[in-house]
């Protein structure tokens, strides 16, 4: 069974974010970019699926700029078979991104399409279920573990207050969250092999964004806090401050 994983290039989670000139984007000088952490879980899940079945290919797709090739190579180094870059600019409007991906996914031969639950840049948590809905396919979000069996994918998902087991008909779209799929490290051999794996490029089919950034700002700094004291002796004063000053108890 072929599996497609949609992945995105994002700033490393360690990065300090600086706002760029013009105030509408970040200043990416010196910023290291990575394959979004949840997408790594999704790539891992895809690899385990094809490895478990002993057949099928894992294809990575991203919608983004030239630089996203490096992200695709990172996924190929983990073990994916091939990759496709849909060239264009992925902005704040997740529905535009979803449409660009759907234009490619509609005709693709893969009963299972995986997403990260959210991309670690815009944190929108929406492209996966939008794609699932636009394709008219079964779609399950926030999945920690799944099994493919008899034309279905059985998913464990985290919900408020518990866990849900959901059975979805294939073809299906599944978004992956942290759980079973701790991503493997790319081996040196994997990194070398990735250089020779097929990576295609084509222009994305783009639609107009209807959500546009007006202004980025730094989050308001938290007012300097105070050290109430040292050790257990400080507990009564802390409780007093929480009640009387912070109104939090």
């Amino acid at each position: 069974m072929n599996v497609i994983v949609c992945v995105k290039r994002v700033p490393d989670t360690e990065t300090r974010i600086k706002i760029g000139e013009g105030g509408k984007s970040i200043d990416d000088t010196g910023v290291k970019f990575i394959l979004s952490p949840y997408d790594e879980y999704a790539v891992e899940a895809a690899l385990r699926t094809t490895e478990g079945a002993g057949e099928g290919e894992v294809t990575l797709i991203t919608f983004g700029g030239e630089a996203s090739q490096e992200t695709l190579r990172a996924g190929l180094a983990m073990g994916a078979d091939k990759a496709l870059l849909l060239e264009g600019e992925s902005g704040m409007d997740g529905l535009s991104t979803a449409k660009a991906l759907v234009a490619e996914l509609e005709a693709a031969d893969a009963p299972l399409i995986l997403f990260g639950v959210k991309a670690a840049d815009g944190d929108q948590q929406q492209v996966g279920p939008m794609v699932g809905t636009l394709l008219g396919r079964a779609c399950v979000t926030g999945v920690t573990q799944f099994d493919v069996q008899d034309g279905k994918v059985v998913c464990h998902r985290e919900v408020e207050g518990g866990v849900e087991v959901v059975e979805a008909d294939l073809p299906a779209v599944v978004s992956i969250t942290k759980g079973e799929y701790e991503p493997r490290y790319a081996s040196l051999k994997g990194i070398m092999a990735a250089k020779r794996k097929p990576l295609d490029k084509k222009a994305a089919s783009v639609s107009a964004d209807r959500m546009n950034v007006v202004q980025l700002s730094e989050p308001p700094a938290r007012a300097a806090g105070k050290i109430v004291g040292e050790g257990a002796e400080a507990a009564p004063e802390l409780v007093r401050l929480l009640r009387e000053e912070a109104n939090a108890l």
């Binding site: 952490p37 535009s96 866990v163 050290i227 050790g231 257990a232 507990a235």
Partner: protein, 329 residues
């Protein structure tokens, strides 16, 4: 002139706080758009019982879709019913809650209606007749003001950020029976397992007691549970990733960039160093308390109140003090 619709979440038939926040925001925005605030509640037969109370949160009218197949959230059924109601009205905006359910539902509705969705919004206003919102990006390391050019504009709001108070509306209740075509569903829930003790999800809690590697091992969590219980209702336990990766606590409790984003009234970080990825998930909490033996721990840079000391000594005393305070009322 156009109305604003709030999608109101219920669980086991009880309206959730996040749903009331959505209604109150709808009321504020509706006033700016010159229309009225409506609420949509979907659930099993009888869920309308408490629907009138949404008037106190500002709803002019509450539409309640009752159907046996809707008692629990089902993505396809809820999305279809919600889209029907949105199409039947004239809405400038639709407000969802950025909860697990809302984050599943909102994108489906957006795709079906072909309109954009802003997730996890922390501020929303009307400017020149259009919706302008603020949402954290890069896990809260920056805020983006975003203009939305669509009718309706869809947003999901971060729980615990918006008020539930609004000028009261009439809250008239209208019950309807949605069309549900269960035979067409492509997904089926085959099992639901509740987390132990009916505990509240960390993303919904108003008080979070969170433990890190400084706790030394899962056997010491009783100390955190004691403090959590002393704090009373609306509280939950949280955890750092180090703790979750070590298998001490379930992933559902993880706070941070690869866990939950939370904004409680009070966040107590115990034995947590305050790595950038952890701060990302909790820095919009109203009050932050840190207990750590290392005075240089970065968590103290965001904490409003800190105690430097050994958590194994501080926690029991703190729990006693909180109990005393609560006993006094």
């Amino acid at each position: 002139m156009a109305d604003v619709l709030a999608f109101v979440e219920q669980r086991d038939g009880a309206i959730r706080g996040a749903g009331r926040e959505a209604v109150a925001l709808a009321a504020t925005l509706a006033a700016s758009f010159g229309g009225s605030a409506k609420a949509l509640l979907l659930g099993g037969v009888g869920v309308s019982g408490d629907a009138g109370s949404l008037g106190a949160n500002g709803a002019a009218q509450v539409e309640v879709g009752e159907h046996d197949d809707l008692s629990d959230y089902h993505p396809e059924a809820y999305a279809a019913a919600t889209v029907d109601r949105i199409r039947a009205g004239d809405y400038a905006a639709v407000i969802f809650s950025a909860t697990t359910q809302g984050k599943d539902l909102g994108p489906r509705v957006a795709a079906l209606l072909d309109v954009p969705l802003a997730s996890d919004v922390i501020d929303a206003t009307v400017e020149d007749g259009a919706l302008s919102i603020v949402r954290p990006i890069y896990a809260g390391k920056a805020f983006a003001r975003v203009s939305m050019d669509a009718k309706p504009a869809l947003v999901s709001i971060r729980p615990n950020v918006f008020q539930t108070e609004a000028a009261a509306g009439p809250g008239s209740v209208q019950v309807f029976e949605p069309q549900v075509d269960a035979a067409s569903w492509k997904t089926r829930v085959v099992e639901r397992k509740a987390a132990g003790g009916g505990s509240l999800d960390v993303a919904e809690a108003t008080v979070i007691v969170s433990g890190g590697r400084g706790m030394k091992g899962p056997e010491n969590w009783g100390l955190l549970e004691d403090l959590q219980q002393a704090m009373g209702a609306g509280t939950a336990l949280g955890a750092s990733r180090a703790v979750v990766d070590a298998g001490w606590r379930p992933h559902g409790e993880q706070v941070g960039q690869t866990g939950k984003t939370v904004a409680p009234t009070l966040y107590v970080a115990v034995g947590i160093s305050g790595a950038i990825q952890h701060l990302a998930g909790m820095r919009t909490s109203k009050t932050i308390v840190a207990i750590n033996k290392d005075p240089e721990a970065p968590i103290f840079n965001v904490a409003d109140y800190g105690i430097v000391g050994d958590l194994f000594e501080v926690l029991p005393r703190l729990t006693e003090e909180v109990k005393d305070l609560k006993a006094k009322g």
